[in-house]
Symmetry: C2
Subunit: 202 residues, 2 copies
């Protein structure tokens, strides 16, 4: 395996993410920052690993070592802050509301809204990004649900994703009315009991 800092040529697929030698949190952050700027300015198709690497001041092979593929880099860059709260700290009957609030309030913020739109638009059009999105959602939604100890955590997480991504799709991307114009608190009160059902029902 190449050592960190080696300036070899780009070799897509040469190493899976999570392998290939020591990492640095600073390098990872620098890559993600350059990637967010590049994907934001040029979109997924027009952005290259090489351009992101150049902007971050490192070699393209390093980007591959940290993120595995362009789809992996893209998803980490735009979905990185979809952090779900630990629901074990929330009273059982309020968990649907806490989960719904945490995502909706994030999406109401324009900067995150933009990232979400780019993520879903690209995932709908790129199977590689859809696969990466699944990995992110699985890590974030599934793990939070599984930590509650419920049976069928995978299915519950799947239904919760369908409910909340559907809300994001209709309210923020397709901007279907009247849903797009309703107050945030009203949307959360309407949708949270469905999320709670997916957490609770047998």
């Amino acid at each position: 395996m190449a050592a960190v800092g080696e300036a070899g040529d780009s070799a897509p697929g040469s190493s899976a993410p999570g392998h290939g030698g020591p990492r640095s949190a600073g390098t990872r952050r620098a890559i993600l920052q350059a990637a967010r700027a590049a994907f934001g300015a040029h979109g997924y198709d027009q952005t290259t690993i090489r351009a992101v690497a150049a902007a971050a001041g490192i070699d393209a092979s390093m980007v591959m070592r940290y993120f595995g593929s362009k789809a992996g880099l893209f998803t980490a860059a735009v979905a990185g802050d979809l952090v779900i709260p630990d629901l074990r700290d929330v009273p059982a009957a309020r968990r649907g509301e806490a989960l719904t609030w945490s995502l909706v309030s994030r999406w109401e913020d324009t900067a995150h809204d933009d990232a979400l739109i780019m993520l879903l638009r690209t995932a709908v059009n790129s199977e590689a990004v859809a696969v990466q999105l699944q990995a992110v959602l699985s890590r974030q939604v599934f793990e939070v649900v599984a930590a509650l100890g419920a049976v069928n955590a995978g299915e519950r997480a799947g239904y919760i994703q369908a409910q909340l991504l559907g809300l994001a799709l209709c309210r923020y991307i397709l901007r279907l009315e009247p849903l797009a114009s309703l107050a945030t608190a009203d949307v959360v009160s309407a949708v949270a009991p469905s999320v709670q059902r997916y957490l609770d029902d047998a």
Copy 2:
């Protein structure tokens, strides 16, 4: 206004759909059939009104008269058979299930699944198509909900769309697991009570 059958040149925006003289159901069907084939083969961006008109054996101005715009033609062609059952014929407590079944069972059919994927993919990337999709959903979901006489039919329809389009997005387009592999009946039993809630709750 031009008479039906007149062979004028293409004049985008020359008349809103619903105006411009008599129509024929046969001409409409022929245009939709040609449009489905063209959009299916070449996608939204690469398909022209002129090519659809040529395939249907009529002038492009006729296509505009029937459908108003390329976005309107596309949405009518791919969403045309998203027919929702009249829920007034269904016992009140079974309506969520009936509505969920009618859409899911349609999407499980590969041909409809393809149309749905094309519709959502294109709507996510084209504001004009998103606007047309809203018109179709409004006509189909909203009218069925409004016919039940509930208050806030628009909001109820909006939440139902978010739930069911989210399911379509995650199960059929992003193909997120385990949701994509669950049995149809299990998916309907899990999601229908949420749809029922959006129909019933104050």
